[in-house]
Symmetry: C2
């Protein structure tokens, strides 16, 4: 069992894991990314996120995709874990924990104050796992999203 | 009325706005950042976030602090707005809308699919303003946070 940083050669594997995770989340049609998208945005001149790969006998069995967020209260960056996934056949082997442990180490090394992520409210096994690590839910805040035509419309406003 | 990118010379202003926003959010003691923290993490060799300043008669009256997040479903970056603040005496003058409009334009220019932010559940004036723009709440997901001793403890786990 080991964890390493992904390289551009892992793009097909990362895409497969993203699609498998969307299926597990019961939203398979939402995963619209292509290999070209991942190549450009993760391994191009301006990478927007980083990826860790969990391996068993040198075969990838899971991944963690993360980026830096920022706390204005702390005046320092944090780490936001966008996706954490371990293939069903490899579950129970400690890969999820190994990926999170590596992320906590990266947090400490980079002087980040927080490790954050989102979980689907019905995913009780994941919630139990996270609370067991000492993580807690952020109560009292709701995330808003502006996308598609509403985003385009705002961009075209003649406000100044 | 105008919006411009902040420079290192704006650090004292940005810190004052962060503290004023924490007071408005009824959590003034949470704003622990110092000028040195902001200087290093926003204007050092590796900036972790970007800042827009709203001005009235060339005097700063508000700010927006944002960074790039990432959607694995879209295979492209988004923009996450961490703080949006306009001073009470300047409210109603369109500065909040001007900051959001500029962010929507940056989204389009950088090929980002989404503009996201979080709002306190009791802040109904803000929620009304956001829904009026066409933004909607993300239902069914909860953000978890690991910080402090629990984060240090995980970093020290001997998992591989």
């Amino acid at each position: 069992m080991s964890v390493r940083y992904a390289t551009a050669a892992d793009v097909p594997t990362i895409l497969r894991f993203i699609q498998e995770l969307a299926e597990y989340e019961k939203l398979p049609d939402e995963a619209k990314a292509t290999e070209e998208d991942l190549q450009r945005t993760l391994f191009g001149p301006r990478p927007y996120a980083e990826v860790l790969i969990a391996e068993q006998n040198e075969t990838p069995v899971g991944f963690a995709l993360f980026f830096h967020n920022y706390s204005t209260w702390l005046g320092k960056p944090g780490i936001y874990l966008e996706d954490l996934y371990v293939q069903p056949t490899a579950r129970g082997g400690g890969h999820g924990k190994a990926l999170l442990t590596q992320l906590a180490r990266i947090c400490e090394l980079r002087n980040c104050g927080r490790l954050e992520w989102s979980v689907l409210d019905w995913n009780q096994p994941a919630i139990d796992f996270y609370e067991n690590l000492g993580a807690g839910p952020m109560e009292g805040w709701t995330t808003f999203r502006l996308t598609g035509e509403a985003l385009e419309r705002l961009a075209l406003e003649n406000s100044n």
